[in-house]
Symmetry: C2
Subunit: 252 residues, 2 copies
Amino acid sequence: MEAFAVPDVPEIEAGDDLADIVEERVDLRPDDVVVVASTVVSKAEGRTADLSEFPAGPRAREIASRLESATGDEKDPRFAQAVVEEGTELLMDAPFLLTETRFGHVTVNAGIDRSNVPGKELLLLPRRPGDSAERIHAGLAAAPPVVVADTCGRPFRHGQRGVAIGWAGMPASRDWRGETDREGHELEVTVQSVVDELAATANLIAGEGDGGTPIVVIRDWSFGDHEGSDELFREVEGDFVRQALREWHYDE
Amino acid sequence: MEAFAVPDVPEIEAGDDLADIVEERVDLRPDDVVVVASTVVSKAEGRTADLSEFPAGPRAREIASRLESATGDEKDPRFAQAVVEEGTELLMDAPFLLTETRFGHVTVNAGIDRSNVPGKELLLLPRRPGDSAERIHAGLAAAPPVVVADTCGRPFRHGQRGVAIGWAGMPASRDWRGETDREGHELEVTVQSVVDELAATANLIAGEGDGGTPIVVIRDWSFGDHEGSDELFREVEGDFVRQALREWHYDE
Ligand SMILES: Nc1nc2c(ncn2[C@@H]2O[C@H](COP(=O)(O)OP(=O)(O)O)[C@@H](O)[C@H]2O)c(=O)[nH]1
Ligand SMILES: Nc1nc2c(ncn2[C@@H]2O[C@H](COP(=O)(O)OP(=O)(O)O)[C@@H](O)[C@H]2O)c(=O)[nH]1
Ligand SMILES: [Mn+2]
Ligand SMILES: [Mn+2]
Ligand SMILES: [Mn+2]
Ligand SMILES: [Mn+2]
């Protein structure tokens, strides 16, 4: 397996066709996987904004003032307003805002970035990253699978890593259930979320700073002969951590 | 960046020297990263066991019967005993056992596997995967960084993915704080857990079944000129999810 950044990607602007931009720079094969950082998908889709577009309502002002007292840092109620508008559920309101997005992804601040945004204050996540992936996939002549990735944190472990927030042209996961181990025994529950692993691989190369390498091609990797599954985001019913967080309150 | 499985790894047995096994099969370079599935580290370290080695005490019997009533499946109290002995804290006792291991990793069943274990019923995680990584690292002439990986699940997202449980010869994370984005603005908190991303990359190739490819070499990837951090496992103080789980109880 090989992974390389698409060279010389320009600064992406609203309306840019990411499929064209990749196509002009790499001879893609049908069994490549193209991993695109959500940042450039958002830019191409015009998902930039200024704080002034989010006049804070009473709930956002309350959230911001609670955050201020929890963290000791000044918080802009307009940012809280943006997070509330982008998220469907606020799972934690202190000491940071943990949200579920419209498309089921759980992340801090509804995934709104303040870095790598030229001339604007905020970069919102793509509205439907699955559709974004589908569009890029459909726009590529070789029609390789496409993963839209973001960098985000997680419980239990420090730091952040790349995860998939949208995908097209392949299932999210390899379902190994029913297959056997080296002893011929059936495997226990084992659904391997390969789109997340592909996003993590790409992130090793894309980085977080000014590298300018938001699109990574993964070559000579194969999904293999496995059942596939497209369930990636847990529903709250089976997500005990989310249930626990709903009942929990931050104690200053 | 390139990733390939070490070819023809034999069935690993207690006492095997994994560094020798890799050395005999691959011409390693100092800037490679060697990712080793915890399964074979455990086998080499003799961390296999039978259920009969874990006679169930009263607490394990209580845990097993609670699990039985929560799931409707039969549960062996000796397995619960093994989980209790391997873990330092039981974060959830239903509908599955979520534990913290001795070395700070939060995972189901203290990471005890029942697959890919020849002749024995259980495979325990390495006792100190960081030390295991250090030993393999020290045993390799080119002294490349080594990551010990496991496959495990996570909150919010279905399925499992590779993560690092031990590492040596490199920091766990790239610390981007203080560096700038494309606009010249300082990045917000961004600690990229590259050992987890390397483990995820390796897992794409290693797989979960009878593939027989537990050791993966990552070549032509570079940590780069960044600050490093070795904090990977969150302390409970800063881990709000763990705090929430401590207070939460499963409602049948
Ligand atoms: N060429 C190019 N690179 C970009 C652009 N925007 C961001 N990047 C790069 O894309 C990579 C990922 O950026 P990041 O903000 O971490 O994206 P996220 O993980 O999707 O939030 C970094 O290497 C950035 O320098 C762009 O418009 N053009
Ligand atoms: N060659 C070889 N492969 C093994 C051995 N044990 C497990 N594997 C392979 O290692 C890979 C990972 O196994 P898995 O049980 O998922 O390891 P874990 O993720 O560390 O729990 C699979 O491809 C297995 O077939 C062994 O002793 N020898
Ligand atoms: Mn982002
Ligand atoms: Mn990023
Ligand atoms: Mn395992
Ligand atoms: Mn595995």
